[in-house]
Symmetry: C2
């Protein structure tokens, strides 16, 4: 935690749109140099430029319908290396020492789960060495090296956030700054709710629930990593200097409103199994098989057998892209008489650490949606979140109604930017872009 | 030299145009698999796809006028990694085990001269390990890792040829196959001399002289490396199965014609220093300073002081691109009274191991050019080469005249491809493309 005599370390992470063109990349370089000039040791983690990753994925698809995961990682890891090498050139032209490192050179050691590897160790000796020689260190995000086979691995989409947080934790950095094309975390997606407010502070738990329920400003795993290692995250815009959103521990968030934000996602699908054999272990087999096929199941409901009289009904939701796979898996198991699907499903959620101590929140959610004649098909809750599965077409109405009902657009807590001038540009998707909340 | 019981190893190198699009890359994969199916252990070295390297250079230029060499290497090395990862995917789809390795993973250890590093060791343990597990190994060409600082290095343009030869030498491979978009080494550039003949065999020394005097089919350093380690090279076309040109030791080339090929280059410049102070060490200072500025000097002539009466005249030729640098260096030294330049200079050379024992070759060259009224401005010779510096505009005439005078288009030695069907496609430049001879 930077308690020794050396300069305070800051880790800065720049998403793909923040380094897309030469101008953006040079702007990122100037920001990095400014932090250095302010007296910090600086480690910057960069994503691949603009659409580079998409183009590499497309090149792989042209070659193979089902590209080998190890080779996919070798392929995709080049994008971040390109960003870092170019940024190091730009920083040197600004008169500072700089060195780019691959994930492997930076000591990001992972397991061997190609395309979705997990960081198991950070051996940052080479970074420390470079910092001690007064260099700014650029680290290729999203990648590491597997501990057993010494292969290049990647951490999954958005993995650069996790790289940045992991480096901040390993190097004793106080703060990890995540620069994207939006100005912070909002009380709802400003494209749906124009009066949505930028949140000055959210807790790790809130951010986790928000990331899991549709907010794309930070990768879920990076928030977990930050919570576990007490790294403070500052989500901010790469195009202006205004404050963004701090993601910190609950002790730091003092006064909490009941509800912090409304999140949503419109790309969900529901799979309903009818006539599931009512015997021990059947649910375990079904969800075990889905997990093995890499299908992430979200909300699950099992009904008493009413309509069919011969076995239970079981419904669950998955991401829209996973629906076909889920159906294949279920039919392969033969554990149900019928399988019905609906891909016109969305989800709206409210998140807030304050609702732990206020049991009336759920009732208010249901009443608000009921007043709007929005049918709630499934419900799932956590101590700080209530999610409702609804018709995809009604998601915008639900978000607006809940945002208004809980008065999230008004001064429920101190707003650091009352002018609203740091409203986000809702532009092309960044790796760390915010689709919701 | 593959004297043990395991399968004979073949190293195959594919140039940039041979892996440019998905179709070419899949064709390369099929060739690699065919070699494997024929019972060989296979290591394939790939260049960056098509114009990838040019695009990366352009991206660097957009960021910096004078990109840092270490970062340039980090940047450029990504191109070959992309080719290898994609090719490994294609080979796996053909039902074979395959693994792609970076230059560093493949054990290509170099010095620290970024952008023009030299291989100092090949630690191919990881390749051997993969081969012993029945995998086809894809190695990213053109790159290595520096022994001291563990940084990514590159070997200079065309360096993939050297990677391939070095791996063949280290792994005890008998043969290094270099696949490009031309069918082999020719007796002259077929774009200038349509009746030019594909040469079935040339010696290392001949190939070295040809590479140094304009033939671009093989990188000069790869030929040196092959000669020093007795690796036989087979230059052949990636688009057909016909035999190409073998580059082997002189013992293997038995019957030799007097002259093997005519090479040329049109992009030369002459720098003439007038009034050079006639004192010891002045030439050393001049050419030392040019070498330090990375200017490659080709032909040098020092005249007796006649025209000026106050100091010697000294002329030398350089690549056209280096002329401005050379003039800057000379003027900085102040060792001459005047500097004159001419960038309309070309060079035509004849190469042949047989000329060692035939002193009349030079006379025939001079007479042939004289008959064409082509003025010879400078001459430089080696035991197996005669080069004449001439007006750039007369280069094609000189090439045609010399090719005809030495009867290189006819059956001077056995021609394995009398139908001429393997004449080269003279298409877009490949990394290993043949501009001349």
């Amino acid at each position: 935690m930077a308690t020794d005599t050396r300069k305070e370390l800051v880790v800065m992470k720049f998403g793909g749109t923040s380094v897309a063109g030469a101008e953006q990349l040079k702007r990122a370089a100037r920001r990095i140099v400014a932090a250095r000039d302010a007296g910090h040791d600086v480690v910057a983690v960069l994503s691949a430029r603009g659409k580079t990753t998409d183009e590499l994925v497309e090149a792989a698809r042209e070659i193979s319908e089902c590209p080998d995961p190890r080779e996919m990682d070798m392929l995709l890891s080049t994008g971040e290396r390109i960003s870092c090498a170019l940024c190091a050139m730009a920083i040197k032209d600004l008169g500072h020492k700089a060195i780019s490192l691959t994930g492997s050179q930076a000591g990001i050691v992972t397991d061997s789960s190609h395309t979705k590897a997990r960081i198991i160790d950070v051996r940052a000796d080479r970074i420390r060495e470079a910092l001690s020689e007064d260099a700014i260190v650029l680290v290729a995000g999203f990648q590491g090296v597997s501990t057993e086979s010494r292969d290049v691995t990647t951490l999954g989409r958005g993995g650069s956030d996790t790289t940045a947080v992991a480096l901040a934790a390993a190097l004793g950095g106080d703060l990890c700054e995540i620069y994207t094309d939006v100005a912070g975390v909002f009380s709802a997606d400003p494209r749906i709710v124009p009066e949505a407010r930028k949140l000055p502070v959210v807790s790790y738990d809130e951010m986790l629930e928000m990331a899991a329920s549709g907010a794309k400003v930070l990768q879920l795993r990076s928030v977990e990593y930050a919570r576990n290692h007490e790294v403070r995250i500052h989500c901010r815009s790469s195009s202006d200097d205004g404050p963004g959103t701090l993601v910190v521990s609950e002790q730091e968030t003092l006064e909490r409103p009941l509800v912090t934000a409304v999140t949503h996602s419109s790309d969900e699908a529901r799979v309903t199994l009818t006539g599931v054999r009512d015997e021990p272990g059947v649910a375990g087999r079904i969800f075990g098989a889905l997990a093995e096929a890499n299908v992430n199941v979200d909300v699950i409901i099992q009904n008493e057998p009413v309509s069919h009289g011969d076995g239970a009904d079981l419904s669950f939701t998955v991401e829209g892209d996973d629906m076909a796979t889920a159906v294949d898996v279920i039919e392969g198991l033969g554990a149900a008489k019928g399988v019905e699907t609906n891909d016109e499903i969305g989800k709206v959620s409210i998140v807030g650490a304050g609702m732990r101590s206020h049991p009336g929140v759920a009732a208010k959610v249901f009443k608000t949606l009921g007043d709007e004649k929005i049918n709630i098909e499934m419900i799932s809750t956590s101590p700080i979140k209530i999610s409702c599965v609804i018709d995809a077409g009604r998601v915008p109405d639900a978000v607006k109604a809940l945002h208004a009902a809980f008065e999230l657009g008004e001064g429920a807590i101190h707003e650091e930017d009352p002018t609203g001038e740091h409203r986000p540009r809702v532009g092309p998707d960044d790796e760390g872009a915010q689709d919701a909340a």
